[in-house]
Symmetry: C2
Subunit: 239 residues, 2 copies
Amino acid sequence: MPNPTAAMLVIGDEILSGRTRDSNLHFLAGVLTQRGIRLVEARVVADDHDAIVAAVNALRSGVDHVFTSGGIGPTHDDITADAVAAAFGVAIGKRADAMALLSAHYARQGLEFNEARQRMARIPDGAVLIDNPVSVAPGFSIGNVHVMAGVPRIFEAMVASVMPGLTGGDPLLSQSLRVERGEGEIAGAFGALAAEYPDLSMGSYPFQSNGLHGTNLVIRGTDAARLDEAMGRLTALFG
Amino acid sequence: MPNPTAAMLVIGDEILSGRTRDSNLHFLAGVLTQRGIRLVEARVVADDHDAIVAAVNALRSGVDHVFTSGGIGPTHDDITADAVAAAFGVAIGKRADAMALLSAHYARQGLEFNEARQRMARIPDGAVLIDNPVSVAPGFSIGNVHVMAGVPRIFEAMVASVMPGLTGGDPLLSQSLRVERGEGEIAGAFGALAAEYPDLSMGSYPFQSNGLHGTNLVIRGTDAARLDEAMGRLTALFG
């Protein structure tokens, strides 16, 4: 069976302005690879309604799962929930279960459950809440789109909440060989080997450290025996 | 005059598999913001011909400049140049000036200028070379698309080669205020202030450090006087 596919949508002006360096994509990529879900595309868009709607609709039609990060807080620039509702053509409003969660949370803290905080209970019709063990305000899944917070600690906790419910695939395995030769020197034989293993993906990544330069050769696939065999051939060539 | 716009396309399986954490987007975002070029979208796609062609064509029609990183080395998985040529519907072949640059480079190093290394002289018809002071193999610009290497040190050098030739805009300025209150507490007044300054962009970014939690409030725009005025109002509210 082919591996399920996924796309990620990072939402936030702060990434595109260079203020913040995103870490959620790298985190999610690692988790999905372990679960055998192939991340095939990622996009970053600004806090812009039309841009979010267009990206959600473009991505959700092409993959099994879309994961979004960012824009679900209490401030005026948090517009992701409304944009996702618009993308699905459904209504959005404060939902009783989300209101109850948040109301209890702020009561425990002795903080006012004001209008801004109530904004975080706005959930598109038909969505399922995603548990947020860090700061309570929930994410949500609607159709194949999982909407999560941008703050890395919360994003990571929400990913942990969502993953058990998803169907994974054979784990995407990788093995790598570090060779102290430039890419241009190994490219011919490496490319010929890759052509013999069309079921595997082979990539080369040059490095430089301490004046030494070389190449990391990586083989990826789902069949451990095939990976071992190809890695044996690779080691015989360059090891 | 409105600021010019840009998009970035990061190309590489290693980013989507979680093997490598991209740093080129964050670097480029900072450079463009300083130059007054608004980065409106970024995408990451795999080393896949059709995915690269589709992304290049989708992005180049919507912005003033597209910057790509990755996939222009000597190995079989370096397919960006061919994909960009296909996106523009132009032919691609080894170009004399790129061949001369690379030939001289490998002669100086006493290395064979083999078939794999000659691959890096493949340039789409009509493109202009981008200087690579780090490792010689050039990038190229075709139309409004600037094609650069993925290795961060080389990407950054190529960005430095390209930027002087681009028309910038008024620098995108930002000022920020750190307040030791949660987003939910400041959201109401902050949103009201943002509504009074539609020409500025205001964002809030929660932080937690040493058990303290609070919010960084950021105001962005191109008019320094307006920024000062809005920041004065913000400081009066929360400073």
